[in-house]
C-alpha cells in the first residue's frame, strides 16, 4: 500500500470512527450484541454445570450400587463361613451371579465430561446423554437411553453463543454496512467524500473498515471476556479458543463482504436492505433447512426400530434353538433332562444375550454407515451456507458435535467388549463373583485429552468454506467501491 493510499485509508477510517462514536444507535447495537453474547455464554455455563452434576450423580449412583452389592456379598460369605447360610437371594439379586449382575445391578457408568469450551454451543449435548450405563446386554438396551426433557424445549433450542454468532451477529454487521455508499449517495455527501480524498477508493475502504471492525471487535471482545468469566482464563490459551476467534472473525468478514458487495452495486439503501435480508434468510434459514431435508430424503436415517426387532428376533431364535437342543438331549439320553433350574436359566440367558449382541452389532454398524452417508451429503452441501458450516464448527469447538461423541461411542464399544468378557467368561465357567472381582471391575475412564486438552480437529474445511466466499465477495465489493458513481 503506497503512502498516499494508506493515509487516505486511515483518514477515511478515522472519519467514520468519529461519526460512529457520536451515534447513539451504534453504541446501542454494539452493547446489545455484546450483552446477548455474554448472556448466551452465561446460559452455556449453567448448562455445563447441569451436565457435570448429572455425571456426578450417575457416578455416585454407580458407587452406591456397587457398595450395596459388595455389602450383600460380604453378608452371604460371612453366613457361609459361620455355617449359618443366609436365605438364597433370587438370581437377579444375587451379587455372586455374573450373568445378572453384569446385565444391570453392577452396570458401569461411561461418561463424557463437557469439553473445556462446552459453554459456547449446546450442539447435540441436550439430546445425547452425557452418561451411559453399560451392561452385558446388547447395545440397544443402553445406548439409546435419553435424559428427561420436554420435547418442546428440545425443539425450540436453547440460547447459546452458536445461535448468537450464526443468527444475530450477521444482522448487526449488515445493519452497519448495508448503506455505506447508498446512504451517502442519498444524503448527497458521497460526492464530497470522493472529492476530498486523493485516493477515493482507499478512503471508502477506510470507512468500510471502520464500520466492519466495530461489530467484529465487539463480538471478539465479548467472547473473550465471556469465556474468561464463565470458563476461566486458562481456556483463553487453548487451541479451541483460537479456532473460535478465527471462526468469529471469518464469519463476520463474510457478512461484511456480502453487504459491501451489494452496496457496491450502486443501488438504493432500500434495495440493499431488502436484498441483504433476503440473503440472510436464505443463508441462515432456508439453505440449512433445505440441506437437512435433501440429505434426509437422499439417505433416510435408518429405523432404530429395526435394531430392536432384530435383537428380539435373535432372542426368540436363541430360545427356540435352546429348546431344540434340550429336546435333542432328551431324545439322545432317553428322556433324561439336562441340568435345569438356575443353571439352565443362566445358559438360556447367555445364549439369547449373545445372539442379540451379534445381531445388534451388525445392525448398528449398518445404521452408522447409512448415517455417515447422510451426514457426508449434508456436510458437502453445507458448503453452500457459511451459516451451516459455522454452526457445525462451533459445536465441534465446544466438543458437543458429532466428532467427539463418535469418539466417545468408539470407546464405549471397546469398553462394552471388555465388560462382557469380564462377566460372561465367569458366567460360562459357572464361577461366582467374588469380592476380588468387584474390586477389579473394568472402569470406563475418560481419556485425558478429552478432559483438558480437547483440540477440535477437522476445522480447516469449514474455515476455508467460510473464508473463500468472503474473499470472492470482497473482490466484488472492491470492484464496486472503485467504480462507485455519485
Amino acid at each position: 500500500m503506497s503512502r498516499a493510499m494508506s493515509s487516505a485509508f486511515f483518514a477515511g477510517f478515522r472519519f467514520e470512527a468519529r461519526m460512529m462514536r457520536r451515534d447513539g444507535a451504534i453504541w446501542f447495537a454494539l452493547l446489545t450484541l455484546a450483552g446477548v453474547a455474554l448472556f448466551a455464554l452465561a446460559m452455556g455455563s449453567a448448562r455445563v454445570s447441569a451436565q457435570q452434576a448429572a455425571i456426578a450423580a450417575a457416578r455416585a449412583d454407580e458407587m452406591q450400587r456397587i457398595a450395596n452389592l459388595q455389602k450383600t456379598l460380604g453378608q452371604l460369605q460371612e453366613g457361609d463361613a459361620q455355617g449359618k447360610p443366609a436365605p438364597e437371594p433370587p438370581p437377579f439379586r444375587d451379587p455372586r451371579n455374573p450373568t445378572f449382575m453384569g446385565g444391570g445391578p453392577a452396570a458401569a457408568v461411561a461418561a463424557l465430561a463437557p469439553a473445556p469450551l462446552a459453554l459456547v454451543a449446546i450442539g447435540q449435548s441436550d439430546l445425547l446423554p452425557p452418561a451411559v450405563r453399560v451392561t452385558t446386554n446388547s447395545k440397544d438396551s443402553f445406548l439409546f437411553a435419553d435424559e428427561i426433557d420436554n420435547p418442546a424445549n428440545l425443539m425450540s433450542g436453547a440460547t447459546d453463543l452458536a445461535f448468537v454468532i450464526v443468527f444475530v451477529y450477521p444482522l448487526v454487521i449488515l445493519a452497519f454496512v448495508f448503506n455505506l455508499l447508498a446512504g451517502e449517495r442519498e444524503q448527497g455527501t458521497l460526492a464530497m467524500t470522493l472529492a476530498s480524498a486523493r485516493r477515493p477508493g482507499a478512503a471508502l475502504a477506510g470507512k468500510l473498515a471502520a464500520r466492519v471492525s466495530a461489530p467484529i471487535i465487539a463480538m471478539l471482545l465479548a467472547v473473550t471476556v465471556g469465556v474468561w468469566i464463565f470458563a476461566g482464563w486458562e481456556r483463553l490459551a487453548s487451541p479451541g479458543f483460537a479456532a473460535l476467534l478465527v471462526l468469529v472473525l471469518l464469519y463476520g468478514l463474510f457478512w461484511a463482504a456480502l453487504a459491501a458487495a451489494i452496496d457496491g452495486l450502486g443501488r438504493s439503501s432500500a434495495f440493499n436492505a431488502l436484498t441483504l435480508i433476503g440473503a440472510w434468510v436464505a443463508i441462515t434459514m432456508i439453505l440449512p433447512a433445505a440441506i437437512n431435508s435433501l440429505a434426509a430424503f437422499a439417505h433416510p436415517a435408518p429405523s432404530r426400530i429395526d435394531m430392536v426387532l432384530a435383537a428380539r428376533a435373535a432372542s426368540t431364535d436363541a430360545d427356540k434353538a435352546r429348546d431344540a437342543s434340550l429336546a435333542r438331549y432328551a431324545d439322545e439320553h432317553g428322556g433324561g433332562k439336562p441340568a435345569g433350574g438356575s443353571q439352565e436359566m443362566t445358559l438360556r440367558r447367555l445364549a439369547t444375550q449373545e445372539a442379540a449382541f451379534q445381531r445388534v452389532e451388525a445392525i448398528v454398524a449398518e445404521h452408522d454407515a447409512q448415517l455417515a452417508r447422510q451426514r457426508g451429503l449434508s456436510d458437502r452441501l453445507g458448503y453452500l451456507s457459511p451459516a451451516y458450516l459455522t454452526f457445525q464448527a462451533m459445536a465441534d469447538i465446544a466438543g458437543s458435535g458429532e466428532t467427539r461423541y463418535r469418539a466417545f461411542l468408539d470407546r464405549i464399544r471397546a469398553f462394552h467388549v471388555d465388560w462382557r468378557e469380564f462377566f460372561l467368561s465367569r458366567a460360562k465357567a459357572g464361577a461366582a463373583l467374588t469380592a476380588e472381582d468387584y474390586a477389579a471391575l473394568p472402569k470406563f475412564t475418560q481419556a485425558d485429552e478429552e478432559l483438558s486438552a480437547w483440540a477440535p480437529v477437522g476445522l480447516a474445511g469449514p474455515l476455508i468454506g467460510v473464508a473463500l466466499p468472503a474473499l470472492i465477495l470482497a473482490v466484488f465489493a472492491w470492484r464496486g467501491f472503485r467504480r462507485c458513481g455519485i
Binding site: 437377579f92 439379586r93 437411553a145 431488502l274 434459514m285 434426509a296 451451516y388
Partner: protein, 492 residues
C-alpha cells in the same frame, strides 16, 4: 378513474361511502403489490418452497408409515412366534408399541423428532418412548428442516412485513397520503382498505399451501384408522391459526408504518420485532420455562419410581408386603397352605404387585407430564406479544404432534401393557398348577397387539385454550395498535 377521485367525501358520508373508500384503497394496494415484481417473485418462491416442503413431508411420512407398519407386523410375528414358556416370561419379553404417524405431521412435524417412536411394554415397568429421530440427525439438523410450518411460522411473517412496511410511510414520503387525506378519506378507512389488501394477499399466500395440504391429506389418510372429516377440521383450525398469526403481522406492519418517521425506520422496527419473535422469544421462553418449572433428571425420576416400587414386593417372597398378601389370601380362601388354594398364588401375587405398580407409574408419569404442561404454559403465556409462542403449540396440537398427543399415546400404550400383564396373570391364576407351567401360542395369539386410536380434534381444542387465547390477544392488540396509529396519522 377510481371512485375516490370523483369527489371529496363529506364528513357525514354514509357507510356506503366509507366502504367505497376502503375498496378503492384495497384495489390500489393490490395493484401495487401485484406490480412489484420483486415481491411477486418472492411470493412465488415462498409458494414453491411451501409446496416443496409439503412434498418432502409427504414422502418422509409415507416412508415412516411404511416402516412402522412393517415393524408392527414384525413385532406381532415375534410375539406369537414365541416358544412355549411361562406366561410371565412372555410378559417379560413383552411387546413393542409403535406410535402411528399423524397425517398432518406432513405439514408440521412438531416434536415428533424429539420424542421416541416406540415403547417397550414389558412386565413390571412402564418405559419411556425410545429412539428419538433427532439424535441421528447430527448438529446441522438442529437448524431445522424444510416444513410447511417452518415456512409459515418464520418466513411468511417476513413477507407480510415486506408487503406492509411502506404502506403509510411510503405514501407519506411520496405525498400520496396527503392527497388521499385531503379528499376526506378517513384514516381508519384507509387503514381498513390497506388491511383488506394485505389480508387478501395473506390468503393468496396461504391458499396454495392449504390446498396442497388438503390434497395430501386426501391421499394420505388411512380412512380405516382415521376420520378424514376430523383431519379436515384439524386442517381448518390450522388454517385459521396461521391466518390470525399473519393477519396480526399485517396490522402491526400497518401500525408501525403509520407511526414511523420514514419507511426505513418502519422496516428496521418491524425486522427487529420479527427477529425477536422468530428467534429470540422461543429460546428465551424455553430458558425461562426450564428455570421456573424444572423437570427431574432421568436418575432422579427413576430413583423416585424405584423408591416407591421398593414398597411393593415384586418377585421378593421375603418382602413384608408379600407375606401380608399371602396371609390375607390364605385367610380369604380359608386354607392354611398355598398348595391348598383353588387358584395359583403366584398369579395372584403378580396381579397384586402389578396393580400396586400401576398407581406408582400413574403418579410419577403424571407428575412429569404436569411439569411439561407447566413449561408449555409458561412458554405460551407471552404469546399475545410474541405470537410464535402461541401459534407453535396450536399448530403442533392440531397436527397431532405435540407433547400432549405424545402423552396420550404413551398412556394408551401403558393401558395395553397393563392388559397384557392382566391377561398373563389371569392365565397363571387359573391354569398354572405348579412352577413348571408353560403356555403356548394360543395364549400369545389371544393377547392382541397394540392398536392406537388417536384422539379427535376436540382433544387439541381442549388442550390449547391458553395458546388460542394468546393468539387472539395478539390479533386484538395488533388491530388496536393499528387503529391507534391510524388516528395519529400525519400527512407529512
Amino acid at each position: 378513474m377510481s371512485d375516490l377521485a370523483l369527489a371529496p367525501i363529506a364528513a357525514t358520508a354514509s357507510a356506503k361511502s366509507h366502504w367505497r373508500v376502503m375498496r378503492a384503497v384495497a384495489a390500489k394496494e393490490w395493484l401495487e403489490l401485484a406490480r412489484d415484481r420483486r415481491l411477486v417473485a418472492l411470493c412465488a418462491l415462498i409458494v414453491a418452497l411451501m409446496l416443496g416442503a409439503l412434498a418432502f413431508g409427504y414422502a418422509e411420512n409415507a416412508r415412516i408409515l411404511r416402516e412402522r407398519d412393517a415393524a408392527t407386523k414384525a413385532d406381532r410375528e415375534l410375539w406369537v412366534g414365541q416358544s412355549a414358556k411361562n406366561p410371565h416370561a412372555a410378559a417379560h419379553f413383552g411387546q413393542y408399541a409403535f406410535k402411528p404417524l399423524s397425517p398432518l405431521a406432513l405439514a408440521d412435524p412438531g416434536v415428533d423428532a424429539y420424542v421416541g417412536s416406540a415403547v417397550w411394554l414389558e412386565a413390571h415397568k412402564q418405559n419411556e418412548t425410545q429412539f428419538k429421530q433427532a439424535r441421528d440427525g447430527g448438529v446441522g439438523a438442529r437448524l431445522g428442516s424444510l416444513s410447511l410450518a417452518f415456512i409459515l411460522q418464520t418466513i411468511a411473517p417476513l413477507i407480510v412485513i415486506l408487503m406492509g412496511f411502506a404502506s403509510f410511510s411510503g405514501e407519506r414520503e411520496s405525498g400520496a397520503l396527503k392527497q388521499l387525506l385531503s379528499v376526506g378519506a378517513r384514516p381508519r378507512d384507509i387503514l381498513a382498505g390497506k388491511a383488506l389488501a394485505l389480508i387478501g394477499a395473506i390468503f393468496a399466500l396461504l391458499a396454495p399451501a392449504f390446498i396442497g395440504a388438503a390434497l395430501a391429506l386426501f391421499f394420505f389418510v388411512d380412512r380405516e384408522r382415521l376420520s378424514l372429516a376430523d383431519q379436515f377440521i384439524r386442517l381448518c383450525a390450522l388454517g385459521a391459526g396461521y391466518a390470525i398469526y399473519l393477519a396480526g403481522f399485517a396490522f402491526l406492519a400497518l401500525g408501525v408504518s403509520a407511526l414511523a418517521k420514514n419507511s426505513r425506520a418502519a422496516l428496521v422496527t418491524l425486522l427487529a420485532f420479527w427477529l425477536a419473535n422468530s428467534f429470540l422469544a422461543p429460546r428465551l421462553a424455553t430458558d425461562a420455562a426450564r428455570a421456573f418449572a424444572p423437570t427431574p433428571t432421568w436418575l432422579e425420576f427413576r430413583a423416585g419410581v424405584i423408591q416407591d416400587k421398593s414398597k411393593t414386593f415384586g418377585h421378593d417372597e421375603s418382602h413384608p408386603g408379600f407375606i401380608a398378601f399371602r396371609d390375607e389370601t390364605l385367610k380369604k380362601y380359608g386354607v392354611t397352605r398355598i398348595e391348598d388354594l383353588p387358584v395359583n398364588f403366584r398369579g395372584l401375587a403378580l396381579r397384586k404387585d402389578d396393580e400396586a405398580g400401576y398407581a406408582i407409574f400413574d403418579r410419577h408419569f403424571g407428575l412429569l407430564q404436569s411439569a411439561f404442561d407447566r413449561q408449555d404454559a409458561l412458554r405460551a403465556a407471552p404469546g399475545f406479544l410474541f405470537p410464535l409462542l402461541a401459534l407453535r403449540p396450536i399448530s403442533m396440537a392440531f397436527a397431532g404432534v405435540d407433547s400432549r398427543s405424545q402423552f396420550d399415546f404413551a398412556t394408551a400404550a401403558e393401558a395395553h401393557r397393563r392388559d397384557i400383564q392382566n391377561q398373563v396373570s389371569d392365565n397363571i391364576i387359573h391354569f398354572a398348577h405348579d412352577n413348571h407351567y408353560v403356555a403356548g401360542p394360543e395364549l400369545w395369539r389371544k393377547i392382541g397387539s397394540f392398536a392406537y386410536q388417536a384422539p379427535g380434534a376436540i382433544f387439541a381444542f381442549a388442550h390449547s385454550a391458553l395458546p388460542i387465547a394468546a393468539l387472539l390477544g395478539w390479533l386484538v392488540i395488533a388491530v388496536v395498535f393499528a387503529a391507534f396509529a391510524a388516528r395519529r396519522l400525519r400527512p407529512v
